[in-house]
């Protein structure tokens, strides 16, 4: 990393500067770099003595938390709440260094003084703040790109399980959607929407300069000190072929010079479901099922044995309901403990931390644990050389990452008893194989689903100062991970349905090797010219492979998956086939700034990838950007209310490496269902063609134009930025659904173009500024994002050459990338519409869809775009209040105008059928009523209900169990407001802390997800369903037309949870 600094040009101060450079480099933080060093003449030597004093700001306010260190030692102290400190200096020669975030650093010689009070000057402007950018840092005033930062302080606002959660609702242009509530779930992150139609729209993660792939859960968020999100081409182009989806730079903590400091951060919380599913109880299920039978056969009598089992009848008569929600949903806990130590001298700095995170689910067994251990060491060798190492190691253990019993909880008959007369669990309580008993999974040795993962992420650098301003740096990254998964299901579980038990194990390994050579040249000429040149040559190689073996019929259940040899092999495969890829890159960047008023950045990166076809491996990604600091113009100097005003513009091109290796070559596959056969008892390993070779496969490119305005008014009480951008992605990697008559079902090719346009507004307002220390303070962070995706071209054309929709892939010109293309639901055919219903082959009580083209029949031509998952806008709001030692933080977000697909009401997902075969959510369904004599538990019978929302249950046999057009029931408004957390903290007065031998103590109480409001009544009734989690849980593919091309990723989600957390942060 590198930071450009103002240089005095004075020879005498060079030594000091070089040390400071080192220091600043090592802190890796946003510490203001403007330094007012003071030269002090040495005074006569004397012995150790105590110094006390008070540190204040220029206007006399006491400053707590200021670090006071005896220069050249680790001996130091931190000021207490009233700004005072006490310290023993070794001699009269001692120099004290006062430093604090947001204030200029000062060095003061102690002399014989025993009392030394000092005032610090606040950093007057953002001018000298340093911004972390790709491959280095820049002065914030000279940054030309669009970058959102999340500071250390913001990160501490909300204890989170992973980095993605830390970003949610915190920065404009970044959409983070939780993918569910199971412990260990990684959220989906999108920067400025989706642009690629193939697999990945995930941003590139870079941890301490090394690209990081894989799970966000491999990082302990407590180890992170800042997050920077690079959004435009100017800032991402230096990541070339990998920058198109944006880049998130993650900076981890490093040691600082000063007294050794130990910290402990810990919390413990209880989580519970936010709300339940509104599920039918026994009586409601009885009525629903009876209605279904009577719709088919109006004289149907519930005494008919096929209606219910005897057990169900008994329970119905007794008014009993089996409520699997009560039986299985339980409280979970979350806890996290991080112990850290850091410190150092001017030449050596170190830090180390140990972390433990533990979260249990809201169903039994489910658990996620992470142990993390990290260390950093930075060492100056002589005057010109510095080396450092950073190692991040985590071990994660996930129990039941794949087991999901929600389907059973929601659909198994509420009338049937889960236990038989002997108290034994019944696998199929009402005898129907479609409704298994989830409790069977939780008997001893019934199942094992465990995933263990070890990751070691290491980087090493060496830096040499060659000439003044010219540095060479070598970064070496070694990132390895290995994962072992085990699973076992006993015979009597829903998974095996009473058949033989099954067990499997798999393991995989992946590693990433990176070497980067960086040359940087930083100079300031004639006071006004800042020049920063960066050149890079890097190589990265990646390898992954894995192996899986499964058996059935093992001898002893209690051995779980520990003795595969005791079973009959059923599957053996390279579940992760060995793959390798390599990337070789050259990059150059030139920053030039004049007088802190005008700056320009030019970058170019050349990437050469193994994944592309010969002759197409090399690509160039250029970008250019300019910025104008209007506030620094002399004609504005007189406007004191104007602190910052900067205009930025950038244009550039970046790529996306969403291509998996070997895709240019075509493939034949083999396996059960894919070519395996047998000739009598002899097995036959057959192959079938599965992918067409594509010797022309290349990268997709995104060209981004970005205009930004940064501003700060009224002593920076109102700061923020506005970004306006347009991105065009060309040569799209299109997974193109092919007619299967060609022998293939899809093909990846470069074709077509998409566009994203948007506006992002970030604002920080200091609504109330304390007049004196401990006064009431209120500040707010606002962010607002509008992004519009649009498909411009799909490379399918009409005869006249105009662009055309690709209905087969459900892609439409002018529409967002993922739209829902289905019939339009008009409600339910009412009694008065019987004739019309008949005309359309339907009947009263069933779903009515629009005959869009008015041809008198409903067919494929009547499908329309009924919605899109693209929101109209998203916004986030963080409010902070401070009074005396108390602080209160509220983080909220909203997403407005998206259409989400809800699996629990979407017919093809089998949660909502209407044959009455299974239990389901309590829909407001069309009913012709049931006479009282047939419903003993519902006195007066079931009244007719001409509902217009959900169709009449109907047993009549048809192709599927869900109602015809049942997919249309699953589309709901995804608009929501979510208060993600409320955090109330109290910082103990320094005197109390000191009495406990601590330098700082903060205790806090936090509520996660205290409140979720959804626009759709359906979600209001079913508080278990989080519209946020549905935002990205669906995948659209042209393949399955009957389900409107929709499949659900990772199945369904357990109810959203609310957690109450008590935590403490201690510093020693």
């Amino acid at each position: 990393m590198n930071k450009s600094l103002p240089s005095s040009g004075s020879q005498g101060r060079d030594r000091k500067w070089s040390r400071l450079v080192a220091l600043l480099l090592l802190t890796g933080s946003l510490t203001p770099a403007y330094v007012q060093a003071q030269q002090q003449a040495p005074v006569s030597t004397s012995g150790p003595h105590q110094v006390t004093g008070k540190v204040t700001s220029d206007d006399g306010e006491a400053l707590p938390g200021v670090t006071v260190v005896v220069k050249g030692t680790t001996n130091g102290a931190t000021t207490s709440a009233d700004g005072t400190y006490t310290l023993t200096v070794p001699s009269d020669n001692a120099i004290l260094i006062f430093s604090s975030v947001g204030f200029g650093r000062k060095e003061v010689a102690v002399g014989k003084r025993t009392s030394l009070s000092q005032s610090l000057t606040p950093e007057t402007q953002a001018l000298n703040e340093v911004q972390v950018v790709g491959y280095g840092t820049q002065k914030k005033s000279q940054v030309t790109g669009a970058i959102s930062s999340v500071s250390d302080e913001q990160l501490r606002d909300v204890p989170v399980a992973n980095v993605g959660q830390a970003l949610q609702g915190r920065a404009a242009g970044i959409t983070v959607s939780s993918n569910g509530t199971a412990p260990g779930q990684s959220p989906t992150i999108r920067i400025r929407g989706s642009r690629s139609l193939s697999g990945s729209n995930d941003p590139l993660l870079v941890v301490d300069g090394v690209p990081f792939d894989g799970s966000l859960n491999d990082l302990n968020p407590d180890d992170i000190t800042s997050l920077e999100v690079l959004k435009d081409a100017s800032s991402t182009a230096i990541y070339g072929a990998r920058g198109a989806n944006g880049v998130i730079l993650i900076t981890t903590r490093r040691g600082k010079s000063g007294a050794a400091r130990a910290t402990y951060a810990g919390y413990y919380g209880i989580k519970d479901i936010y709300g339940r599913f509104d599920l039918m109880n026994g009586e409601q299920y009885y009525n629903y099922r009876l209605e279904a039978y009577r719709t088919q056969s109006p004289t149907f009598d519930p005494s008919n044995p096929s209606f219910l089992t005897q057990d169900e009848r008994n329970n119905y008569a007794a008014g009993k309901t089996t409520d699997y929600q009560s039986l299985l949903f339980q409280k979970g806990h979350i806890q996290n403990h991080t112990l850290g130590v850091s410190g150092g001298t001017d030449i050596t700095q170190y830090s180390a931390s140990l972390g433990y995170y533990d979260e249990t689910g809201i169903v039994p067994v489910q658990r996620f644990q992470r142990y993390s251990l990290r260390g950093t060491l930075d060492q100056q060798i002589g005057k010109r050389v510095k080396v450092g190492v950073n190692t991040l190691n985590t071990f994660t253990n996930a129990n039941d990452p794949n087991v999901n019993v929600l389907y059973q909880i929601l659909t198994t008959s509420p009338l049937a008893s889960p236990y038989d007369a002997n108290g034994q669990l019944v696998l199929y309580p009402n005898g129907d194989n479609a409704g298994s008993n989830p409790l069977t999974l939780y008997t001893p040795n019934a199942h094992l689903d465990r995933s263990r993962r070890l990751r070691s992420f290491n980087s090493l650098y060496g830096q040499v100062n060659i000439l003044k301003g010219l540095d060479y740096r070598l970064n070496v990254g070694l990132d390895g991970r290995t994962q072992a998964d085990e699973s076992f299901y006993a015979s009597v579980t829903p998974n095996n349905g009473g058949g033989v038990n099954t067990a499997s194990r798999s393991s995989s390994i992946a590693y990433n090797l990176l070497a980067e050579n960086l040359l940087t040249y930083n100079r300031n000429f004639a006071e006004k010219h800042d020049l920063n040149v960066t050149a890079l040559y890097s190589r990265q190689t990646y390898h992954a492979d894995g192996f899986q073996a499964g058996v059935r019929g093992t001898l002893a259940d209690y051995q779980l998956a520990d003795n595969l040899g005791a079973g009959t092999p059923s599957t053996i495969s390279n579940n992760t086939p060995p793959i390798d890829w390599a990337l070789e890159s050259y990059m150059g960047r030139l920053n030039y700034a004049y007088d802190n008023r005008y700056s320009a950045t030019l970058t170019a990166r050349i990437d050469r990838s193994s994944r592309l076809a010969p002759g197409h491996k090399t690509n160039v990604f250029p970008s250019a950007a300019v910025a104008w600091n209007i506030a620094n113009e002399s004609f504005l100097k007189d406007y004191s209310w104007l602190n910052t005003l900067k205009l930025r513009a950038s244009l550039g091109r970046v790529g996306s490496t969403a291509i998996n290796p070997y895709q240019t070559q075509g493939a034949l596959i083999t396996g059960i269902g894919n070519g395996y056969y047998n000739y009598g008892t002899t097995g036959g390993i057959g192959i079938i063609p599965s992918a067409i070779p594509n010797p022309l496969l290349g990268w997709e490119y995104t060209t981004t134009a970005n205009f930004g305005l940064d501003f700060g008014f009224f002593e920076n009480r109102l700061t923020g930025s506005v970004e306006v951008y347009q991105q065009r992605t060309s040569d799209l990697l299109l997974p193109d659904a092919l007619p299967t008559a060609s022998g293939y079902s899809s093909f990846l090719r470069n074709a077509g173009q998409t566009q994203n346009r948007g506006i992002e507004i970030s604002l920080t307002t200091v609504n109330l500024r304390a007049k004196d220390l401990g006064g009431f303070e209120w500040s707010t962070d606002w962010n607002f994002t509008v992004n519009r995706e649009k498909i411009l071209n799909l490379n399918v054309y009409n005869a006249d050459g105009s662009v055309r929709d690709d209905v087969g892939n459900q892609r439409f010109i002018g529409q967002p990338l993922y739209v829902i293309y289905d019939y339009r639901n008009l409600g339910v055919w009412q009694a008065s519409e019987a004739d019309q219903a008949k005309k359309y082959g339907s009947k009263v009580g069933q779903i009515k869809v629009a005959d869009v083209n008015g041809d008198g029949k409903i067919d494929a031509n009547d499908r329309v775009i009924v919605g899109s998952r693209q929101p109209k806008f998203e916004a986030g709001l963080t409010n902070r209040f401070r009074f005396k030692g108390l602080d209160l933080t509220i983080v909220a977000l909203t997403r407005v105008g998206a259409t989400v697909v809800d699996p629990y009401s979407f017919g093809p997902s089998y949660y909502a059928t209407n044959t009455g075969r299974r239990n389901q959510l309590n829909f407001d369904y069309y009913s012709t009523g049931i006479p009282a004599n047939l419903t003993p538990q519902t006195p007066g019978g079931v009244p007719a209900n001409p509902s217009n929302t959900y169709p009449e249950p109907d047993q009549t046999v048809r192709a599927n169990e869900w109602p015809t057009y049942g997919s249309t029931l699953g589309y709901h408004s995804g608009t929501f407001i979510k208060v993600r957390s409320i955090d109330l903290g109290y910082t103990l007065p320094a005197a109390w802390a000191k009495a406990a031998f601590m330098s700082s103590t903060r205790i806090y109480l936090q509520v996660q997800n205290p409140y979720i409001w959804a626009a759709d009544k359906y979600f209001q009734r079913n508080k278990a369903i989080d519209p946020d989690a549905l935002s990205y849980s669906t995948r659209f593919g042209g393949g399955d037309i009957s389900g409107a091309g929709i499949t659900f990723q990772g199945g369904s989600n357990y109810p959203v949870t609310r957690a109450f957390i008590l935590g403490v942060n201690l510093g020693f």
Binding site: F307, A741, A860, V957
Partner: protein, 596 residues
């Protein structure tokens, strides 16, 4: 000095960190197979096996029975997860809703492309003996013909490809039916010239398979728009060649119909072509819950819900009851011996005792396996092995019913034809798989696609159309006599005068019910009056029972039986809908069959 050391050190680091293998940007995948593999000896072997593997999809999945047996005069709708194909439901049997035919379409074309790859690259493969190579290519040709034959019968005009597709294309349109038949016959004729007489391994196709298929293709083309004057002659010729030379191919009729479907005899002497499965979990999906397309569900499809009967629980012996296809009264009654005028020659307890096929291929009696009350009754007084339920196949007298109801220690359930529902009916047991390792596991048996008895019936059909009813009757009688109860062969014989297309269809029903052929048989044939048999029979509720509520008192006092097939079927239903996704993906270049 220090500087130099450091400079050297850093230079070394740079070089060591970056001077890796020069070819890091070249891809040399060894973990994936590319089409070039088909040019090797191993590639041809594996490629041909891949082509075979499609048989599991076409003849092992749900779609196998839905597309060939459902919606015919033999079966009406069962309780669970039926399909629009069973009752021609206009909301389900649509280009978007008909998942079964869409599945068949995709499975066939993927394997056709695999065969095209083998036939295109295979001839260049080194390391195989010429004999082996010739044999493998002949097998691939036969299988390609078989897949096209399925497609052409289901969909009519279909896209026709005989070269390996290695460039993505959406430029796909339908070739005329005549061209597809020409290609099928070309493949078969070429295969006939070189293929071996007997299989080297169970399941491998042989010259007998080619002969049988040739007869079937000619028989089918003879009633299509692409018919040729010589079609029946050719069909008769190939069928006769196979029948006359069956010994050469190691073929013969089993003497007992029960032996045809005896478990373990799926590669027996009567079998000409089958889809292979076994009980090796490595090669056959067995667990009953993991559907990867290509598992064998045939053991489940025709099975009634015996597990809901009193004193019964699901067990491996009786199998997993999907209850998808319920026999029609027509099918059940077709086994009653009748005279030339159609009058029954049997009655009462003697019903269906001359023709033994009903008693051998349908399960009508269940024995107690769980003597305890379940949802539908039962008692601990019941005795394991004693009768639990009986489908007598006729209505019993009140006295008989009373006697059974008063039986000790415990009565059994009687389910008469009037009490059949979508859940309770006699079960076709041809595909029973009792050696499965788990209760709900998939079948471990190969499914028979073609067998010699059908060759006789095809020969009869061809000779009948050629005007030689005597020869036709002779062939039919071979099959009928084999089915006769001991000493009753003569009663089973028919005279040449009795031979007509309806009799042939009825005989095919008795012999081949459930064996992936009925829908094609009806579609292929026309009544004496020239009307399509499929449309005629389905519209006639004597064949396709109308939906009715079953409310007879007793155990089965509720439920429904029958379907709306007779009401729903339309003239255009003689062809299946082209999958809508195929039309969408070719931007409409692939046209839909009329009516859909």
């Amino acid at each position: 000095m220090k500087k130099i050391v450091l400079a050297t050190l850093s230079t070394t680091l740079v070089l060591s960190a970056t001077s890796c293998n020069k070819n890091i940007l070249d891809e040399n995948p060894t973990s994936v197979l590319t089409p070039a593999f088909l040019q090797t000896a191993q590639g041809v072997e594996a490629g041909v096996t891949g082509v075979y593997s499609g048989l599991r999809q076409v003849y092992g999945n749900d779609a196998a029975t839905f597309t060939t047996e459902a919606g015919t005069d033999l079966w009406t709708t069962g309780i669970s997860a039926s399909s629009g194909l069973a009752d021609y439901d206009n909301n389900s049997l649509t280009p978007t809703g008909d998942g079964s035919n869409s599945f068949i379409w995709t499975a066939c074309y993927q394997k056709i492309n695999a065969a095209n790859g083998v036939l295109q690259y295979g001839p260049n493969a080194q390391g195989l003996t010429p004999t082996r190579l010739t044999q493998l290519l002949a097998e691939a040709k036969l299988l390609r013909a078989q897949y096209y034959f399925v497609l052409v019968q289901d969909f009519g005009d279909v896209p026709l490809y005989t070269t390996f597709i290695d460039q993505p294309t959406k430029d796909i349109s339908r070739a005329p039916l005549a061209d597809v038949y020409t290609q099928i016959l070309k493949d078969l004729t070429e295969s006939l010239a070189t293929i071996a007489d007997k299989p080297a391994q169970p399941g491998r196709v042989t010259r007998a398979t080619v002969l049988h298929l040739l007869a079937k293709v000619y028989l089918t083309r003879a009633t299509s728009s692409a018919k040729q004057a010589t079609d029946y002659q050719m069909a008769a010729q190939y069928a006769k060649e196979l029948i006359d030379n069956q010994g050469r191919y190691g073929l013969a009729l089993e003497t007992d119909p029960a032996a045809v479907f005896a478990e373990g005899n799926e590669n027996g002497k009567e079998v000409i072509f089958n889809a292979q499965f076994n009980n090796d979990a490595t090669f056959t999906g067995l667990d009953g819950f993991t559907y990867v397309s290509g598992e064998n569900v045939l053991g489940f499809q025709y099975r009634s819900r015996y597990d809901k009967l009193p004193n019964m629980a699901r067990d491996t012996y009786n199998g997993r009851p999907f209850a998808r296809h319920v026999p029609t009264y027509f099918l059940e009654n077709s086994y009653i011996l009748k005279d030339a005028s159609g009058n029954a020659l049997e009655s009462g307890a003697a019903l269906r005792t001359t023709d033994t096929r009903y008693s051998k291929w349908f399960t009508t009696v269940y024995t107690v396996n769980t003597p305890s009350p379940n949802a539908n009754g039962g008692s601990t007084k019941a005795v394991v092995g004693d009768t639990s339920a009986w489908y007598p196949g006729r209505e019993l007298t009140a006295a008989q019913l009373t006697r059974i109801a008063n039986r000790t220690p415990y009565p059994y359930i009687v389910i008469q034809p009037s009490q059949y529902t979508t859940e309770y009916f006699p079960t076709l047991n041809k595909f029973d798989s009792r050696n499965r390792s788990s209760l709900n596991g998939f079948s471990t048996r190969p499914n028979i696609i073609y067998r010699l008895a059908e060759t006789y019936l095809m020969a009869a059909e061809a000779y009948f159309y050629l005007g030689n009813s005597a020869q036709a009757a002779t062939y039919i009688n071979v099959v009928r006599e084999r089915a006769a109860a001991a000493g009753k062969k003569a009663q089973m014989d028919i005279t040449p005068a009795q031979v007509n297309i309806d009799f042939i269809l009825d005989e095919r029903a008795r012999e081949l019910c459930g064996e992936f052929t009925r829908w094609y048989d009806l579609k292929r044939t026309t009544t004496a009056g020239g009307a399509n048999e499929l449309l005629t029979r389905i519209r006639n509720t004597n064949y396709a029972p109308a939906l009715r509520s079953v409310t007879t008192p007793g155990f089965t006092k509720g439920g429904v039986y029958g379907s709306n097939a007779a009401i729903n079927i339309r003239d255009f239903h003689v062809l299946r809908p082209i999958p809508q996704s195929e039309i969408d993906r070719t931007s409409g270049k692939l046209t839909q069959n009329p009516g859909y």
